[in-house]
């Protein structure tokens, strides 16, 4: 069954740290007979095994592709530096986890783009797998390299390396794409013809079929298709009904501990809140829910198939699920005997029901996470985070009274219009949370108060009302962090902050154009990989790469864009109109909030999918 298990690979495994990252054989993995399947799909997660195996999208697509009799899906992960060195030394190619076939023996290679800092890993994986890094160098015998996921909405920085991008929900387009590639294989279609066919699929963007021109100041002049098959605008794919959409009934269960080692139950997709910094909140529109019955059924099947001890309800805003208390009650009832705990990972502070908090606690008590995002009401209004201080403190009080003593608070720093007052507001809020704890009678509260305040650096993202905004410079971020460190020196409060360097580079790629591809390649050639990890991130090398390519990172990160500027991703249609986003930006400038879609349609553009958005008003605003 294992066709490529040679002694060199075995020897490398004996030398590396964490060999189980590379050996596979996990429960619920699928090893189909290579010869029995005409289409071989290599699913690449461009980060380590522990991160990749925590990713829900992998589990969905893995099950989906393997379900088809004519296709098989095998996994690839980014090796850690020690393994990379050994593989180079021993001339071992990147091998799949299942049958240990090298990457270049697959017909399709699919990368999932979850965060920008994984881009250099894509280049590394292709090269280790014997696939030409750039699309233009790939020949008739090379695989087609595709990518999807949230970062595919601005595909331009990866245009040189990826043959085709899938925009939007993957469940349908994935199979359509595989069918075209099967056709290439069986009918001997040329690469060029195959790519044009792919461009004809809804939601597929083939960057080599578009020409980009620039103004003298470096901004984009236009992005135009060069052939009739390529649409002027690529509209994202939307699955209309989650209940009938494929969801796996078993997950691979790693032997070793991974980041999210539990059942993830996607209760809904999308969010109606309209926080202005949040890209996911736009990309995953409209809100679609799975039915309670479907979820309970999936939970039981997944529990029986995995043996996991914990179920987490996953979505952008689980508290908004329309029958959350009923769902939790039903799951608790059925899982109690099996000793399975239920956790709500992305609790929104204004939607937690005291009752469900108490129910969660029935099995296991963990720390509670709140994301007020900003320290003052003014700042929260600017970002349209519809949460008030009273809301937060009330929920915190409930939690402390309910026996919790550990609370995490997440904030962002560097939001548009942020002042020192807004930073002081973070400390003020933390102080008030501490006070709430001490207000609970000693006998009633749990011991050991732990309030953790984390601030991340705001990164403006495409397809948000802040897509035109400038990111704070590194110097400004450092000054602000220094200030926060001083004001957050509060007993009972621990302060964590993100280094600004990674966020700066993330901002460059998030809103980068096609020319960023050269920077990526240069940095990779200089040895940059695993940039998402502190121990391997080399900021100076990245800056060298920018200089050598004649590009200024500040142009991408720290520049405010004009209203009429052609943005590098304007030919991708996220469903939400640019006009709506600009309107939101203007409201933000005036510190005006926008209501939750559930309270009435704001006319974002999703009305075009008739009947899919439950809150859409055909008339719009």
């Amino acid at each position: 069954m294992i066709c490529y298990m040679n002694d060199r690979f075995e020897r490398a495994l004996e030398k590396v740290q964490k060999a189980p990252r590379y050996t596979g054989g996990e429960m619920n993995t699928t090893v189909k007979k290579w010869e029995d399947c005409p289409l071989h799909f290599g699913f690449c997660f461009p980060d380590t095994y522990e991160i990749g195996m925590s990713h829900l999208g992998l589990k969905i697509l893995y099950g989906l592709i393997n379900r088809e009799s004519w296709s098989l899906c095998e996994r690839f992960f980014m090796p850690w530096t020690d393994m990379m060195a050994l593989m180079k030394e021993e001339d071992i190619p990147l091998l799949s986890m299942e049958s240990r076939h090298p990457l270049n023996t697959f017909d399709v290679i699919g990368f999932t783009l979850q965060y920008e800092m994984s881009y250099s890993n894509i280049l590394a994986m292709l090269q280790m797998g014997g696939v030409p890094i750039e699309g233009k160098d790939r020949g008739e015998n090379d695989p087609i390299v595709v990518a999807g996921g949230p970062c595919a909405y601005n595909p331009e920085p990866l245009a040189d390396f990826i043959d085709a991008f899938m925009i939007g929900d993957g469940e349908e387009v994935m199979i359509e794409l595989n069918r075209v590639i099967l056709e290439r294989k069986e009918e001997g279609l040329s690469r060029a013809v195959c790519l044009k066919k792919l461009a004809g699929l809804k939601g597929v963007y083939v960057p080599s079929l578009y020409r980009v021109s620039y103004h003298n100041d470096g901004t984009v002049e236009s992005v135009e298709p060069t052939c009739p098959e390529a649409p002027v605008s690529v509209v994202k794919r939307v699955v209309t009904d989650l209940n009938s959409t494929y969801y796996p009934e078993k997950f691979p269960v790693p032997y070793t501990e991974v980041v999210f080692d539990r059942i993830m139950l996607e209760i809904m997709r999308g969010c109606t809140r309209g926080c202005r910094f949040c890209q996911a909140g736009i990309l995953y529109r409209p809100v679609r829910e799975r039915s309670l019955m479907k979820l309970v059924d999936l939970a039981e099947k997944l529990q029986a198939a995995t043996g996991y001890e914990e179920i987490s309800l996953s979505s952008l805003s689980s508290g908004d699920y329309s029958c959350l208390p009923e769902l939790i009650r039903e799951l608790m009832k059925r899982m109690k005997e099996k000793r399975v705990s239920i956790s709500l990972p992305s609790l929104r502070i204004d939607s937690v029901l005291k009752e469900s908090l108490e129910e969660t606690q029935q099995v296991r008590k963990t720390s509670l996470t709140f994301a007020p995002e900003a320290g003052t009401q003014r700042m929260r209004d600017v970002i349209n985070k519809g949460v008030t201080e009273e809301d937060l403190l009330e929920k915190v009080r409930d939690a402390f009274e309910g026996g919790w003593s550990s609370v995490k608070l997440y904030f962002m720093s560097g939001l548009p219009t942020e002042t020192t007052e807004d930073l002081d507001g973070i400390a003020d809020l933390a102080q008030k949370v501490v006070a709430e704890y001490f207000n609970v009678p000693k006998a009633q509260r749990a011991k050991g108060l732990r309030v953790t305040v984390s601030t991340s650096v705001f990164v403006p993202k495409p397809f948000t009302p802040f897509q035109w905004a400038a990111q704070d410079t590194i110097e400004t971020v450092l000054e602000k962090q220094e200030h926060l460190k001083q004001v957050l020196n509060i007993k009972g409060v621990t302060f964590h902050w993100h280094e600004p360097y990674v966020s700066f580079l993330e901002a460059c790629f998030a809103r980068g154009d096609r020319r960023m591809g050269a920077v990526l390649k240069k940095a990779y050639e200089k040895g940059c990989v695993l940039d998402g990890w502190n121990e391997t991130f080399r900021f100076d090398t990245w800056m060298e790469a920018f200089r050598e390519c004649g590009l200024d990172p500040a142009f991408y990160a720290n520049r405010e864009r004009a209203k009429d500027e052609v943005l590098p991703w304007d030919h991708i249609d996220s469903g939400v109109t640019k006009q709506f986003l600009w309107h939101e930006k203007e409201k933000s400038d005036r510190t005006e909030t926008t209501k939750d879609c559930r309270k009435g349609c704001n006319g974002c553009g999703l009305q075009r999918w008739k009947g899919v958005c439950a809150y859409a008003n055909a008339g719009g605003v």
Partner: protein, 224 residues
């Protein structure tokens, strides 16, 4: 009742450590739907123990788990349910139901049989030829790793049997809760005897875990 079950740790997953094997068995038991007993307390876990931890990097042919059941279950049903619930690399071959009061296994452990596959063929002959000479010595010094330091010890009394053929060495070594001759210690001593300075790569497979019966014979631990 308790179920003593014999399972395999296959070659593909030989780099999985003991803690992860434990967790994988726990999850397998949860998947099996069998009526297993749980511990009390805040984080209830299944009552399952192991006769002996197997080193990271080693395969196991007959490892033993000891599962406390909440209800009586037949051995066949246990085996069938578990083999459906466990990955290919950790299948069970035998199960034996015993009384709850059956003695715990680790204190009964006396020895383990190992197969050592010499990966580099060029060393195999030399190593196997060195076995009689080594065994003829009064003492066989080896380095034992303790938590804090390396300690010299004599492994001669810890070797029951040692023979070799082709690329394989068959070793029956003492393994108790108090003392053990680990295959690595044995290989070091044997390399020294054979005058080999390079590190010889060996694939270690623990073939059996043995205890002592009333007649003083070594027998499979799970049969006691």
């Amino acid at each position: 009742m308790r179920m003593l079950a014999v399972f395999e740790k296959g070659e593909r997953i030989r780099h999985i450590g003991h803690l992860d094997i434990q967790r994988s068995v726990q999850r397998g038991l949860r998947r099996s739907g069998l009526p297993v007993a749980y511990s009390n307390g805040f984080n209830p876990h299944i009552l399952v123990t192991f006769a002996s931890a197997l080193s990271t990097g080693a395969c196991g042919k007959r490892e033993i788990m000891d599962v406390t059941m909440a209800e009586e279950v037949s051995e066949d049903i246990f085996l069938e349910a578990m083999n459906r619930a466990m990955p290919q690399e950790m299948q069970l071959s035998e199960a034996r139901g015993v009384d709850r009061k059956h003695p715990s296994l680790p204190p009964l452990l006396r020895a383990a049989r190992y197969d050592l596959l010499i990966r580099e063929e060029k060393y195999a002959g030399k190593l196997i030829e060195a076995i009689p000479a080594m065994m003829a010595r009064e003492t066989i010094p080896a380095m034992r790793k303790t938590k804090t330091a390396l300690k010299e010890c004599d492994i001669k009394p810890l070797i029951y049997e040692l023979k070799g053929a082709g690329k394989h060495i068959d070793a029956l070594l003492v393994l108790t809760e108090r003392e053990a001759c680990k295959p690595g210690m044995l290989m070091e001593a044997l390399c020294r005897e054979a005058g080999i300075e390079e590190e010889v790569r060996v694939l270690i497979t623990r073939e059996a875990l043995l205890g002592e019966n009333a007649e003083g014979q070594l027998v499979p631990l799970e049969s006691l």
